[in-house]
């Protein structure tokens, strides 16, 4: 049977077919749909862990216990999971352990475009890279085999275009893979210096065996055409290469670490000119050059963003593409907070109070954009609280009471809670706003430890923010509906004036969570509207200019009513636009 699967869906299918029993993950674009699809298989235990480090630790435990296990994350998630990653490379596995990492060249939905292949190199873990949905499924299955054969975790690297492209996938049955025996083996599983030194030797031996064996690995595939141009590439760039250079010979690397140096040398000898085509860092190119293989790569391309077939055509063949010129003077359309978004109320007040806002990662990062423009910093998951504390310690009274950290419910559980503990422990004076919209929003609404549901939507224990903050020792805690603008402003001012750590829980459900709750669109009475523009400061996309006045786009408005409370003339209400 064949299905048109997203790359991510194919990864999930591959794990299921390979007899995988346990999957743990934290959502992150472009990796999220892998685990969402895994959750549909009843014969796999799956969970959203609070962060990637915990997810990988769950994965390592399940592997030691004898189960085939997969852990999934986006590229920056691997930073969080890097601690267990490097040591799991020493211990090796029992049941196969596959770690999926999805990079985001071009930063479609990320804060940086780091190249995960360097993790494979520095942690000495083999890495596979598929170029299509079919390969995504096949490579995951192969990754489980390699993991058990070489006693190592195996990384599978995806990029946004592989994760989020659909292609035809041939489906197969699930392999019956039994749970392996768990046998106590402190020399393998307890990594303290005496044992780890021994394992480091094992690791070194394993890596050189793999480096030799990968020369005969089928997924490192030589496709000979002409001899004028040879290309070494992997992942989706392979597909661009096929399209841009149909006459070239290609060495397609299915394994991007370690590299099959002998195979590469023999390929290089067959072609007149050798190019390395790889997005982001010149990892393959540098490896080739250090092995004395002459090639060209980043001198013609860039370390920024994505490649394309036309880019390759232009750089190598000098051919231009396109028939119609692009329009250059168009207004941009950046992403925005949705109509009815609960965060809008919180940002409106923060902006009104002219606070320095340390932001975090989630839908609410969009509060940085005009017209709210109410965010000063955003670095990584959980960083807002630590940064706010740092600012306060650096600038003292000049800063305290005038800055806040804003962080989402899921992000707070991911890595914000430790920052809050730090504020309390080190006598900080930070105010933290936890924007609790009852879901992990930006990645497409996953459940988390604070909304009372697990990955399958079944009821689960719900962390109580107030009690948690109380237990940590936060002196001021208040839960407020951010659409109660007056109440929110008063509460926030109290929190800012409070000496010591203070937390506002801004609680209101994400507008997309239950569309059945949407109310009929509101409208503006033209005769009453004075065109003051107060409502436009909310940045709701449904409020649009209409000559000197404002109207509501009835196809976008969800009737949340927030604009009613900022209009000084009472022009907004139910009824037809006039």
């Amino acid at each position: 049977m064949q299905e048109l699967y997203l790359g991510n869906e194919a990864v999930a299918r591959g794990a299921w077919e390979a007899g995988c029993r346990v999957v743990a993950a934290y959502p992150g674009t472009p990796s999220t749909e892998i685990t969402e699809n895994i959750a549909k298989y009843d014969d796999i235990y799956s969970e959203w862990s609070p962060n990637e480090k915990v997810a990988l630790e769950v994965g390592i435990g399940a592997s030691f216990a004898g189960a085939r296990t997969m852990v999934c994350m986006k590229h920056v998630g691997l930073n969080v999971a890097a601690d267990p990653l490097f040591t799991a490379s020493y211990t090796g596995v029992n049941g196969g352990l596959v770690i999926i990492v999805a990079d985001d060249p071009g930063m479609h939905s990320s804060q940086n475009e780091q190249d995960s292949r360097y993790y494979a190199k520095s942690a000495h873990i083999p890495m596979l890279e598929p170029s299509s949905s079919q390969e995504a499924k096949d490579f995951v299955k192969l990754a489980f085999d390699l993991s058990e054969r070489y006693d190592t975790p195996v990384l599978v690297r995806l990029t946004t275009r592989v994760s989020h492209s659909r292609g035809i996938v041939e489906l197969e049955e699930r392999q019956q893979v039994d749970l392996k025996d768990y046998v106590k083996d402190v020399k393998k599983y307890v990594m303290m210096p005496g044992m780890a030194r021994l394992r480091h030797k094992v690791l070194e031996q394993r890596e050189s065996t793999l480096a030799a064996d990968c020369n005969s690995l089928e997924i490192n595939q030589e496709i000979m055409n002409g001899t004028k141009i040879g290309v070494i590439t992997s992942g989706l760039v392979y597909q661009y290469t096929l399209q841009a250079l149909p006459d070239a010979s290609v060495l397609k690397l299915g394994m991007v670490y370690p590299l099959p140096i002998e195979k590469i040398k023999s390929f290089a000898a067959k072609v007149e000119k050798l190019y390395v085509l790889e997005e982001l860092e010149p990892l393959i190119e540098k490896e080739l050059k250090s092995n004395g293989i002459d090639c060209e790569g980043k001198s013609l391309f860039t370390v920024q963003g994505e490649y394309s077939a036309n880019m390759i055509k232009k750089a190598i063949l000098g051919e231009d593409a396109g028939e119609i010129a692009a329009e250059s003077d168009l207004p941009v359309r950046p992403p925005i907070m949705c109509p009815g978004c609960p965060h809008r109320g919180a940002y409106y007040i923060m902006k009104k109070l002219k606070l320095v806002v340390n932001g975090d990662i989630g839908c609410y990062t969009l509060g940085a954009l005009a017209p709210l423009s109410a965010m000063d910093t955003c670095v990584c998951m959980g960083a807002s609280i630590g940064m706010n504390h740092g600012m306060e310690k650096a600038r003292g009274t000049e800063s305290s009471g005038k800055s806040v950290a804003i962080i989402g419910d899921s992000t707070f559980m991911h890595s914000g809670v430790t920052g809050l503990i730090n504020v309390v422990y080190n006598s900080g004076n930070s105010t933290v706003i936890i924007v609790d919209n009852r879901t992990t929003g930006m990645t497409g609404h996953q459940n988390n430890p604070t909304n009372g549901k697990n990955i399958k939507g079944a009821s689960a224990p719900e962390i109580d923010f107030e009690k948690l903050c109380e237990a940590i020792g936060v002196g001021f805690i208040k839960t407020i509906d951010p659409f109660d603008l007056k109440g929110f402003e008063t509460g926030l001012k109290e929190a800012l004036n409070f000496q010591g750590a203070s937390v506002i829980i801004s609680k209101r459900e994400c507008a997309l969570l239950d569309k059945k709750k949407w109310m009929p669109a509101l409208s503006i009475d033209k005769d009453v509207c004075i065109g003051c523009g107060s409502c436009l400061k909310l940045g709701c996309p449904a409020l649009v200019k209409d000559g000197k006045k404002v109207k509501i786009d009835g196809t976008l408005c969800v009737g949340c009513g927030l604009c009613v409370s900022v209009c000084p003339t009472g022009a907004i209400g139910n009824g037809e636009n006039t």
Binding site: Q2, S165, G322, I324, V332, R333, P335, C338, P541
Partner: protein
């Protein structure tokens, strides 16, 4: 069949993913190789979104680049203009006349361009209609997708039965009837 490239452009939240799913299904049912590249994540929050569908005997890249697209389904007219360079000169554009102001227009730092439809028509064959009122007539304002697909099916020719089968397979089961009606309205436009 030579590779056929179809763009679907619009604003995040307009539900363009349904159209790409129907097109993917159509290709599969017609026995073609097919790849679809979607947008998930941040841009889905009201940003400019573009989905690529490519079908033919053997498809390598899932991405449509400058000068490659035969057809474009545009759910918003400014977005049609934004991606015009991806079209072949001989291509055809189907535009839903809807206008959604982007934030820079709302905040007054930019103007919504005038005469978009004329600008499109000067470059390429363009069909414009109000897909939203067509959908409303069919019985559900959300059936904009299938109105657009209906028009595309008519232009692309191919077996109407396969198109209908693809629509049936992809829309939510409870909405099959209204979507078929919407498809037919688009088909006749």
């Amino acid at each position: 069949m030579n590779t056929l490239s179809i763009l679907i452009v619009g604003v995040g939240g307009q539900g363009t993913l349904l159209s790409s799913r129907i097109l993917g299904k159509y290709a599969q049912l017609s026995g073609y190789d097919v790849k679809v590249s979607e947008v998930h994540g941040m841009a889905q929050r009201g940003g400019s979104v573009i989905t690529y569908v490519r079908m033919g005997d053997k498809i390598a890249s899932p991405i449509i680049e400058e000068g490659e697209a035969e057809y474009m389904l545009a759910f918003e007219k400014l977005e049609a203009l934004r991606y015009i360079q991806l079209m072949k000169k001989s291509g055809k554009i189907i535009v839903n006349g809807q206008k959604i102001d982007p934030m820079p227009v709302i905040t007054g730092t930019a103007d919504y361009p005038n005469g978009i439809i004329d600008r499109l028509k000067n470059k390429i064959e363009t069909f414009v209609f109000d897909a939203m009122s067509e959908a409303k007539e069919a019985g559900n304002i959300k059936a904009v997708n299938t109105v657009m697909i209906g028009k595309l099916a008519n232009i692309m020719a191919g077996s109407k039965d396969i198109w209908l089968e693809a629509v049936r397979a992809c829309v939510p089961p409870k909405t099959v009837d209204v979507n078929i009606l919407a498809f037919e309205r688009g088909y006749k436009l």
